[in-house]
Point group: C2
């Protein structure tokens, strides 16, 4: 009998699996023009926790025993996430000089290259999915559709970013706050889970359950992020702490306070776990990941 693998060991294994696939799916630094490929890799390999790709792998595993090539859509999610961080950090947007404890992309490579590196990672995400093999084309199309919707303007990441910019400095309204969080962060996390399901050939019922799970942990993730910005130090976060309050951002702690925000995150976690019932033991890792997301300290 084999010993159960701890969630920490499991996570390290999956991170390594994603890093290896990202390495394979990114143009090498020696590819012309060198600068853009260096900038893409600088941000892609900056020590990200690979939460979205791991959720994608695990959602696929909850549906099918094996999904050859599922690392490809998982990496596409990380490319889209990384592009969004690069563009969010630009002077015209959040103007953040640090990201994961290092100079942000535009501080390291200049604004022009940072804008183009973001564009390139977004483009590359769709390219790797379309160049992938091993599943019926209809599933590839489903993955492209899912990624584009989650990254887009209508209830997607860009829509959330615009709403966030427009809310700065104004009194926080509940409805607006929920839109921002659902669109800016939860949409891509929900998509991560759905993409894994679609790629693995989930039934409608399974996809519906995964969507509910993904939407709830996406919400919990953003609440925890907001809370950490209030209670953690810049050193612990690897990015500038207290920026939300300084920029008068619409956040959960700003509207509900820290304690109530924490309870809301736990509530969202409970609802996420409830949605996984139909998968039984197969969803053990998805349950552990939900707990990790809510209980993380940074």
């Amino acid at each position: 009998m084999s010993l159960p693998v701890s969630i920490q060991d499991y996570r390290r294994t999956q991170q390594a699996r994603i890093d290896e696939a990202l390495e394979r799916l990114s143009p090498p630094e020696s590819e012309y023009p060198l600068t853009i490929h260096r900038a893409m890799r600088y941000s892609l390999f900056a020590g990200g926790k690979r939460i979205r790709p791991i959720l994608c792998l695990e959602a696929a595993a909850s549906v099918a025993d094996s999904s050859p090539g599922v690392e490809v859509p998982a990496c596409a999610l990380e490319m889209i996430h990384t592009y969004s961080l690069i563009h969010d950090d630009l002077p015209a947007l959040d103007n953040d000089d640090y990201r994961r404890g290092r100079p942000s992309c535009h501080k390291a490579f200049g604004e022009a290259i940072a804008i183009l590196a973001g564009d390139a990672l977004l483009t590359r995400a769709f390219q790797v999915v379309a160049e992938g093999t091993g599943v019926p084309a209809a599933r590839q199309v489903g993955v492209v559709r899912e990624l584009a919707q989650a990254a887009g303007t209508v209830n997607g990441m860009i829509g959330g970013q615009v709403a966030d910019l427009e809310a700065e400095g104004k009194p926080v309204e509940e409805e607006h706050l929920h839109y921002i969080h659902r669109a800016k962060t939860a949409a891509l996390i929900r998509a991560a889970v759905r993409v894994g399901g679609i790629y693995a050939g989930a039934s409608e019922e399974q996809l519906e359950a995964l969507s509910r799970y993904g939407g709830r942990i996406g919400l919990a993730f953003q609440i925890v992020d907001d809370v950490l910005d209030v209670v953690e130090s810049t050193e612990g976060l690897g990015k500038t702490a207290g920026k939300d309050a300084a920029q008068k951002k619409a956040t959960f702690p700003a509207l509900y306070g820290v304690e109530r925000s924490r309870r809301m995150a736990q509530q969202a976690e409970m609802e996420a776990l409830a949605a996984l019932e139909i998968f039984g033991e197969r969803a053990r890792r998805l349950r552990e990941l939900a707990a990790l997301i809510v209980e993380r300290s940074a």
Copy 2:
């Protein structure tokens, strides 16, 4: 017997067909968040000539009598082209305040929204292709792959833009100039023709011929663009004239002079026409479009 439709009338009809489809495929200005959808439409409906979409429609028509839904990939090409113009105009890149005779997107909406509107149009391009119906999924995947490669960093549009930025102020080298033009402009024009072919189910031989045609007119297009920047007024161009020389850009006139550049464009046109031979009369419009591109005055 019906009278033959002139190329001018044909072009107006096709422009209207594309404008109508773009209207349908773009989120309305009343969709939340309003600003981003206004900015996307501001740049999308700025009087573009729709050259890439028209090439796409016509390439499809050279292969099949009818290709239902071919306006969708045609519009995706225009969205990608428009995104590239918005980002190119940004202060950190070409810093151009005017585009098609109007304030560029960042002058009208601010830098943050312009960056996000570019991101949104790129994302939307892939979304509309993936949401399209009417062709086998394998063709949709082929279109996504083609678009992403042409827009990407390896011999694609972003690669060309980076090479262009890096060449500014340096002596123009022949090899570098050809890379810039092939990647920055010709790649997407070639893709426009290939996408039409792929969508319509072109054979390998047909796709090969379309690729040669597209690559050659793409080159001709950029040479003519370079020449117009030298010989035309700002008023005639609708954008700032003489900028290439002012920014010491790598251009064909800078390396070969205006007259030799014009002959090179004509030579490329001849090669493009030769590639169309296998299509016979079906490619009449593609031939006329090649002539229009080389002989346009602005």
